[in-house]
């Protein structure tokens, strides 16, 4: 499923790099520890987190993730938002909890 369709279905707000919403979402990974995401996420995963440090951009690129959903209405660092475009990382936000967002995504892609 395309990230754009997922964003629409879940009423996610696209915060950065809109072009990236044409990417294919093949799975999902949830974690706030970046070392864990680096170790265990898979290419094409959409990543659900409340971690908003700039390092999320590097991790998303390193692992070829389809995008990042920052949940719980958590604010994203200004620096992260500023750099996301140049690093071609799509960050989306939701006021829902990780549980709710993941539940909806599970139904859509599994």
């Amino acid at each position: 499923m395309k990230l754009a369709d997922l964003a629409e279905e879940l009423s996610l707000k696209v915060l950065t790099y809109n072009e990236g919403t044409s990417r294919e979402v093949s799975g999902c990974y949830i974690s706030d520890m970046l070392s864990d995401v680096m170790a265990n996420s898979k290419k094409g995963d959409i990543w659900i987190t409340i971690q908003a440090h700039t390092n999320i951009l590097a991790v998303a690129n390193l692992k070829n993730l389809s995008g990042i959903i920052v949940v719980n209405g958590r604010e994203v660092d200004d620096e992260t938002l500023k750099r996301a475009g140049a690093e071609k990382v799509t960050i989306l936000s939701s006021s829902l909890s990780a549980f709710e967002v993941a539940g909806k995504i599970y139904k859509m892609i599994m």
Binding site: D32, M33, L34, S35, D36, V37, M38, Q51, H53, T54, N55, A58, V59, D77, E79
Partner: protein
């Protein structure tokens, strides 16, 4: 003249909820001296309210005590902030208290947070949720510590929880840490093998003692003129033949 000083720069007192109640100012000083330690830093979680008591308890004993705190950032990274005098740490404490996650400590769950004096008498209990994180970013915390005249050391970077690498995957370039701390769980050789790409930072290792028996479990030997904050900063920068070594 340069001499060697044994330092354990990460010690909790009974103020930290997770530390043993036996970690009173006098007991910490006595134990450190018994183990041949020359310099310690008092580093309770998100608070410095027992620092002065330990400093007073150590007066005239020959043990040097640095003012410190182990602050928790919004990314849940633990960072040691060390200062020469009380002024900087009090300002940092004020900022940390303002940005600490709301809530009250439940001693039944997390443990007591005892504020003591240099005679080990109980002055009171801190009821903030010291175990929690603050809303301060790692970069902002490090920059603030520097602005207040202190140094910032990333705590136990080899650990799977609350270390800068576990939380952030790698050390961000804009986080201008003065040193990286390794826990007593890792040997120097293993650290070199796993973290060799961070050898541009100064390295040290300490006990992170939460119980008396852990004080001095791991120390760093500093070659410097005297056990003072200024000399420590020189040693971390490898300046004027000062150095820091652990194994």
């Amino acid at each position: 003249m340069l001499k060697q000083f044994k330092a354990d720069l990460h010690i909790h007192t009974c103020l930290s909820p997770c530390a043993d109640i036996e970690m009173s100012p006098k007991a910490v000083v006595k134990t450190a001296l018994e183990r041949g330690i020359d310099m310690i830093a008092v580093t309770d979680h998100n608070s410095a309210e027992n620092v002065e008591a330990v400093m007073h308890a150590a007066e005239g004993s020959g043990l040097a005590v640095l003012c410190g705190m182990e602050a928790s950032t919004v990314e849940e990274v633990h960072i040691l902030a060390l200062f020469e005098g009380h002024e900087g740490i009090i300002k940092l404490q004020e900022m940390v208290y303002n940005k600490l996650m709301p809530g009250r400590n439940d001693p039944e769950i997390f443990g007591e947070q005892v504020i003591a004096d240099e005679e080990d008498d109980v002055l009171g209990f801190n009821d903030r949720l010291l175990i929690s994180a603050t809303g301060i970013t790692a970069k902002s915390l490090v920059d603030t510590v520097h602005a207040l005249g202190g140094i910032a050391i990333a705590s136990h970077i080899d650990r799977e929880g609350f270390g800068i690498i576990s939380q952030l995957g790698f050390i961000p370039d804009d986080c201008l840490l003065d040193a990286l701390e390794f826990s007593s769980r890792i040997s120097f050789d293993k650290a070199k093998e796993l973290y060799g790409n961070y050898s541009n930072f100064a390295w040290l290792s300490s006990s992170d003692a939460h119980r008396l028996e852990d004080i001095g479990k791991r120390t760093t030997v500093f070659t410097m003129e005297s056990p003072t904050f200024t000399e420590l900063v020189y040693a971390l920068k490898n300046m004027n033949s000062r150095k820091a070594v652990w194994e």
